[in-house]
Assembly symmetry: C2
Homo-oligomer: 227 residues x 2
Amino acid sequence: MFVRVTTDLAYWANSLGELGIASNSNRKIRLNEFTYKKGTEIYGENEPADYVYQVKAGAVRSYKLLSDGRRQIGAFHLVGDIFGLENGTEHRFTAEAILNTTVRLIKRRSLEMVAESDAMVSRNLLSMTTDNLQHAENHMLLLGRKTSLERVAAFLIEMDRRLKAAGVIPLPMSRRDIADYLGLTLETVSRALSRLHELDIIGFVDRNQRQIVLLNRGQLASLDQQT
Amino acid sequence: MFVRVTTDLAYWANSLGELGIASNSNRKIRLNEFTYKKGTEIYGENEPADYVYQVKAGAVRSYKLLSDGRRQIGAFHLVGDIFGLENGTEHRFTAEAILNTTVRLIKRRSLEMVAESDAMVSRNLLSMTTDNLQHAENHMLLLGRKTSLERVAAFLIEMDRRLKAAGVIPLPMSRRDIADYLGLTLETVSRALSRLHELDIIGFVDRNQRQIVLLNRGQLASLDQQT
DNA sequence: CGGGGGCTTGAGGCCACTCAACGATAGTGG
DNA sequence: CCACTATCGTTGAGTGGCCTCAAGCCCCCG
């Protein structure tokens, strides 16, 4: 019933190798790596989507802009995440490095070739797209119907799940990034975090408040009115 | 580069037939039809996803609920649209008929079997999922960052594109549905529509205000701050 | 004809936004 | 190594856009 899913570019590169498909003139398939400095753009909205990316180190934000500068971040990409995978030929978001970030790259065309002959890779592509869709669907509920406190609670729960390191959550993104992800202002995010701190639901570790520890996960979960 | 996409259950049923796969004991693949009365549930969130649906007549809303009743409609499904397609085994939305609605059904398992051997159907599945994802991505921007007037303008533009009939837009859904789609209250939607009417951007045709005509599409588009 | 649902409109309230000030920190250049 | 500056985060005061509550109209439908 369930299909094993390998969301790793290395697997796909291997598949390319096994198929005897060489990238450029090399016989061996090589995953190219590239490092982006903090704050730099990886690709822009509506640019041709020639590559697919996987975060090796660092963190990335994907966002859309309105003409007057209002920004909506659609997703954060953390270590291991694959992003920039589009079905069409153009990127639908702008992607920027939040920290100095190293990514692995694979040519979109190569990936399409693997998918053509490897049903498992093809299934993985669909599965990844579905995961993205599911995330977007849940996020629509958050953006359309949740209060500021519920949004921030949901955000912390998501980040706890995705990047917990020894009990603390080392957030790579700023309050403004969080706000633009949650459809709030940075002040509202800050006030919500202060409130959670007052209530002894979260604790701050470092001075710039980027490391957070969950003191009461149950209470946090109850603040986010899930489904 | 571009692949022809056939988003029609009839095509998939044909593919099943060509593959010699019969549904149940019948030799011929038959697309079952079913009619739901206005307001009835087609499937519920978290129910097993055994079927995929295509709207033949009527209209459908897909939504998520919070425990206290807050509702977020993720999409409206109009004539021709396919919905209920999940990659996992469970539906992620509740689907309800807005009007008396006739749907065509196909077994999910059958569809998976076609996709297994027909690369084109497989591509179509990915393409449909991508379309849904793209819609959700745009909707996140709307829900997170647009004003009430911009949301309503965007809604009218979307509906104009999707169900225009001889210049007028015959909206199947109530103000409450529109509000739950746009992350607003029904009163705010009503006020926005009145405002657009005052500005001579839209006109009402019938008494219950469900038919709308766009008098100035350009002005409407400029009210919705696209990308 | 009576009841109920859908829509509009008005009055008032509240939650998140705006504007502002301030402290702390990290990055920069001398 | 140390000012200097820009950036980030918090907090307070006041505003405003959307929500809440309410009333009334119209139409559909029993």
